[in-house]
Symmetry: C2
Subunit: 308 residues, 2 copies
C-alpha cells in the first residue's frame, strides 16, 4: 500500500500545487491502483510518475467541485489509448453520472473499456475479498464524502518447523490446518489451528476525507486508521474563515487525528495563499497537537507498512 | 498581434506537448486576448506565461473533441478568482453550450463575470470596430471549424507638415480631414483627403483551422493570410492514415499554404508518435513545398508584423 499525492492544492492549480488527486497503489495486494479525486491535469501529473492508467480500476470522487472532478473526462478518455480494457468503476456523489456521461457524449469520446458509475450514499460501498470501503458524508457546502479503506486481516503463516517437529509432514493436511480451526489427523490426533499458525497480519486502514468543516464526531469514522488524509485549507488562526468556507484548519485536522487515535496524519488541500516557506509553520502548529503529521506536496509518496 | 502556442499535441497530452490551445494576443490592438481551443490543463500552461486570464474575452472552439475542450470548465471557473469580471464569450459548434453549462452546474461553479456562449455556423461570426472573424466548416469526423481573423485596414497618418506647408494649421479641421474624403475650408478651398493622409495600414489576417482532412478548396478561406495555423497530425507518407482519421499531413498543410498564397505557415497538433528528433524531418518535408513553415512547440511565440 502506497499513497502518491498527485495534487495537493485547494480550489485553483498553482505552479507549486495541482488540484486534488491521490493515488492509492494496491499493486502488491491486488495489482490495482485506486484514485481519490481527479482534478484537472491529474493525467498530466500521472505522466510524471510510474503509475499506469490502465492499472487504475476504481476512482472515488469525494465531491463535485471542479478542483476535484475536472480531470475525470480526460483521464477516462486517455485510459482507452493506454491499453486500458478492464472495467473501471467510478464512485461519487449524485451528479457524477450526468457529469461524466455528458462530457463523454458531447466530446464523442468512445471508451475502449467498460465503465461503471456508482452514485454513492453513506455506508459500505465496497466489499471484496481483500478490502472493504465505507463512505461517510462530511460537512461541506455541497455533499462531500470521506472514505475509509479497510484491508481485511490475513491469517498468519503456517509454522512448518513446529508441524514437522510434531511429526506432521507437508501434504494436503497443511491446507486443512490453514482452513479449519480444528482438525483431526489420520491417526486421531486433534490439531488446534492456533497452535500451528503464526500471528495473523492485521489489515491496514486508510481514511481519506474530502473537503469538510471540522467536526469532532468524525472521529468515529476515522478511528484507529493507519493513515488519515485530511484537508487543511487554512492555518490555525483562520478557523472562522474555515467555518465560513466549509473547510478545516491544520489544528482541527490534528485534533481529529488525536481524538481518533490514528497512527499518522497527512495534511493536503493547502490554500495557495501559503507558499513553500509557510509550510513549516503549518506543520509546526499541527505537530504541537499531533506529532506524527506531515504536509503533502505534489508527488509526495507514503508507504503504509503493517503495524508491528 | 502575437500567437502563443499553449498546446501543440494531438489527442493525448504527453510530457513534451500538451493538448490544443493557442492564444492570440491583441493586447496592443484592443487590450484583449483571444483563445483558440482549450484542451485540458490550458490554465496550467497559462500559469507559465505572462497571459492574464482576465484579459481573455473570447474563446473559439474549433470542435468538441476532448483534447480541444476539457480545459474549458477549469479555465472558466478559475478566471473568476483571477480578477475577471468582464464579459467572456465562447464561440463553438452546437453542443458547446450544453457541455459548459452542465459542467458548471454540476460542479456548482458560480462565475463572477457574465458568460455568453454562441453556437456558431459558417459565415461571419464577429464584426467589431477593429476585427472581423469568419468561420468555415472543415472535414473532420465531427463538425470542426476554421477561423479567419481579419484586422480591418487602418487609415494612414495625417501629413501634418504638408498641411502646415499649405497653410492649414492644427485645429478641428484636422479631424474633418481624417473623417471625410473631401472637405471645404472656411476660405472655400477643396481639400482631398488622399493628398494629406499617408499610406493606409493594411490589416493583418490570421487563419486558424481546427482538425481536418486536407481539401484543396479550403484555400479560398485561408487565402493571403499573414499566418496560417494548420494541423499536421501525420508525416507526408501517412496520408492514407490521415484520411482515415480525418487529419492532415505536413505536406498537405504546406500545399494548402502554397495554393492559398499565405505568408507564413505554422504546423501544430503533432501526433505523439513523433519525438523531438522527428520534428526536423516533419519540417523538412513541409518546407520543400512551402519554405516559410515552422513547427510549433508548446510556448512557441510568433509576432505577426504588418506587411511592409
Ligand atoms: Zn476542494
Ligand atoms: Zn484534436
Amino acid at each position: 500500500m502506497e499513497l502518491t499525492f498527485l495534487g495537493t492544492g485547494a480550489g485553483l492549480p498553482s505552479k507549486e500545487r495541482n488540484v486534488s488527486a491521490i493515488a492509492l497503489s494496491l499493486l502488491q495486494e491486488i495489482n490495482h491502483i485506486w484514485l481519490f479525486d481527479c482534478g484537472e491535469a491529474t493525467q498530466h501529473q500521472i505522466l510524471r510518475t510510474s503509475i499506469k492508467p490502465r492499472k487504475i480500476n476504481k476512482i472515488f470522487i469525494t465531491h463535485l467541485h471542479g478542483d476535484h472532478i475536472f480531470g475525470l473526462p480526460g483521464l477516462l478518455s486517455s485510459r482507452s489509448f493506454q491499453g486500458g480494457d478492464d472495467l473501471l468503476t467510478v464512485y461519487g456523489p449524485v451528479g457524477i453520472k450526468e457529469y461524466i456521461e455528458t462530457s463523454l457524449r458531447l466530446s464523442c469520446s468512445h471508451l475502449a473499456y467498460p465503465l461503471s458509475i456508482v452514485e454513492i450514499d453513506e455506508g459500505k460501498i465496497i466489499e471484496e475479498e481483500n478490502f472493504q470501503v465505507f463512505a461517510k458524508k462530511l460537512d461541506h457546502v455541497i455533499p462531500s464524502y470521506g472514505f475509509r479503506i479497510i484491508e481485511k486481516d490475513k491469517i498468519g503463516e503456517l509454522l512448518v518447523q513446529k508441524l514437522m517437529d510434531n511429526g506432521i509432514m507437508p501434504g494436503p493436511i497443511y491446507k486443512q490446518i490453514k482452513e479449519n480451526a480444528m482438525i483431526q489427523t489420520e491417526d486421531g490426533k486433534n490439531l488446534n489451528q492456533k497452535d500451528f499458525i503464526g500471528p495473523s497480519k492485521k489489515g491496514r486502514v486508510v481514511s481519506i476525507l474530502g473537503d469538510t468543516r471540522y467536526h469532532e464526531e468524525h472521529h468515529g469514522f476515522i478511528k484507529n486508521s493507519d493513515v488519515l488524509v485530511h484537508e487543511a485549507t487554512f492555518e490555525d488562526d483562520k478557523s472562522e474563515m474555515a467555518a465560513d468556507y466549509y473547510h478545516s484548519t491544520t489544528t482541527q485536522a490534528a485534533n481529529l487525528a488525536k481524538t481518533g487515535n490514528v497512527s499518522q496524519l497527512v495534511l493536503t488541500h493547502i490554500s495557495s495563499r501559503y507558499q513553500d516557506d509557510d509550510s513549516q509553520q503549518l506543520l509546526k502548529e499541527a505537530c504541537e497537537i499531533f506529532p506524527n503529521t506531515s504536509i503533502a506536496a505534489d508527488f509526495y509518496k507514503l508507504t503504509i507498512e503493517h503495524k508491528a
